[in-house]
Symmetry: C2
Subunit: 330 residues, 2 copies
């Protein structure tokens, strides 16, 4: 049952009541306007309790062993006394009860930990919509006292950039390939990386992983550093054998220490918050535009004319914007 009193949610979240936490996230993920309004009230009041966690984004090439990696890292962090929330941004997800189960199953060790909270990706039509829900869920989890946020991306569309824009540290998980490991990396991904980790560095694979590590290291030299404070690290690990996982966490903490010292952590987060506000505004304005009846009617025809080169893009834009003005003045 969903009550409409924000206070009961707020108190429950702050007391880390897992049932209330889950219900609050359900509100955030709901498409009902009443739920969204309630969620907004809750989040607004939780804002003072947010911002204390380490926010870590993780992406990986297919087959890199992302779930195992997150499970190993999460389990280690729980053992160190951390409270870990694992969230996801997957715009392709059409979540059902089944896939929640699947998600928990694939991290079964971590899922049973009292200090861990695993929430699969919200579903949504747009990456923006999915990302909004995950960001708000992150705020709620921080308010509930979780001090490490692991936000996973499946690497669909622009999801890495989106996740990178909501975390402090972005980790790209790789594996050694057949000599062509550097092919097929999605454009721009390495440039987002604060660390590149070559997983599955165990058994027969150690040498190949080390070779891949060197390849990535030299690749990263071609990309200008994000900051004078930080040069991306390139490491190997074995998530399965729990080798090198502690070293990765040390690097995350080292990065955090440096960014706190220079003030960049705060600056980045401020910028992320303002950028997010703007992306919400832009999305809303675009939606209003799309929903205008005349625009809806004329858009296919005008788009076709632009494609065929019979109407200039500037003229087409003016025509469509004119419909908006016409409706507005009625």
């Amino acid at each position: 049952m969903i009550t409409d009193d924000p206070q009961s949610y707020i108190q429950g979240v702050l007391a880390r009541d897992r049932r209330v936490l889950a219900k609050t996230i359900t509100l955030i993920e709901s498409s009902l306007p009443a739920h969204q309004r309630l969620a907004r009230m809750i989040i607004d009041q939780l804002m003072p309790y947010t911002g204390k966690a380490v926010r870590l984004g993780i992406t990986g090439v297919p087959g890199a062993g992302k779930s195992t990696f997150i499970e190993s890292l999460g389990t280690m962090l729980v053992q160190k006394g951390h409270q870990v929330a694992v969230l996801a941004v997957d715009p392709s997800s059409k979540r059902s009860g089944g896939s929640v189960l699947a998600d928990k199953t694939r991290m079964e060790k971590l899922a049973v930990e009292k200090s861990a909270f695993i929430r699969p990706s919200p579903s949504g039509d747009t990456l923006g919509g999915v990302a909004r829900k995950t960001r708000e869920t992150m705020m709620v989890c921080e308010s509930a006292g979780f001090d490490v946020m692991i936000v996973e991306t499946v690497g669909v569309g622009q999801s890495e950039t989106t996740v990178a824009s909501m975390v402090d540290f972005f980790l790209v998980l790789m594996i050694a390939g057949a000599g062509d490991e550097l092919q097929g990396i999605k454009k721009g991904i390495l440039e987002l990386a604060d660390a590149v980790v070559v997983n599955k560095a165990d058994g027969d694979n150690i040498e190949r992983a080390e070779f891949a590590r060197k390849q990535y290291e030299s690749a990263l030299q071609f990309l200008a550093p994000c900051s004078l404070t930080w040069t991306p690290s390139v490491l190997t690990c074995s998530a399965l054998k729990m080798i090198g996982i502690d070293k990765i966490w040390e690097i995350v903490l080292d990065h955090r220490k440096k960014y706190v010292a220079t003030g960049e952590l705060e600056t980045n987060r401020k910028k992320q918050a303002v950028d997010w506000m703007w992306s919400l505004i832009k999305e809303d304005l675009k939606e209003r535009f799309y929903h205008n009846a005349d625009v809806k009617n004329m858009l296919p025809k005008i788009t076709q004319e632009v494609e065929n080169g019979t109407t200039a893009s500037t003229v087409a834009a003016s025509q469509l914007l004119f419909f908006l003005d016409k409706t507005r003045s009625v």
Copy 2:
């Protein structure tokens, strides 16, 4: 004198009357609404005459010798019988009579050619505004029968991405550095490149240029190719000594031949036209938002609150969008 009859401009442009061409571009660059309306009418009627040119974008690191390169390439093309228009996108330009002169002076050989037309960057407050003017100028130059468009970017802000989105082929000009040539390349630039050219490969510098060429070649392997049809070429040249310039043009033509054969040239241009329409619409919607009196008043305060974490980005966005609705319903 500027008349308000579109036909006189259209006829003049189609007859490649340089005085009318220049006047039409002045209309495009004007900020007066009457001029803009007239320009739009002219461009709309010129659309059927556009699209036949080779559209080549060029950027370069500072000191790469971009002007000399464009002058050498342009002069060679004119000698081959081409009609060459050189345009620019420089959002930092505050054009005055002086800098037009400076621009023509720096390409003095090309500037005196009858088959060449050099137009410095329009000025503008936003990259979007500058880019719109350059795109429209490109359409006008194509209608006037110029068959090679060279669009130069100064590499400020996102200007490379913008130029890449209006051309068929994007060339990045480099030079050999002191062993660190791969440092300091702006992020994402190499990924836009259809060709990377190391200039100043002459005299004592040939070996270093060849070394740099190999470095860039291996760097490009780290970046997934744009298309199955094309792998970016990496070459050296000496614009000053006119060495290797013909080879570069051969590559541009080879690229064009392949893209025409696969249909990608047409597909890309259609996509560019529709993307451009959308970017004009987005820019306009954003402008309307900014100009709303309540938004203008409240924006600084609300932005501050978002930065300080006292207001959630979602809440701030709703508040600002609410002002828009309020004004609209009045």
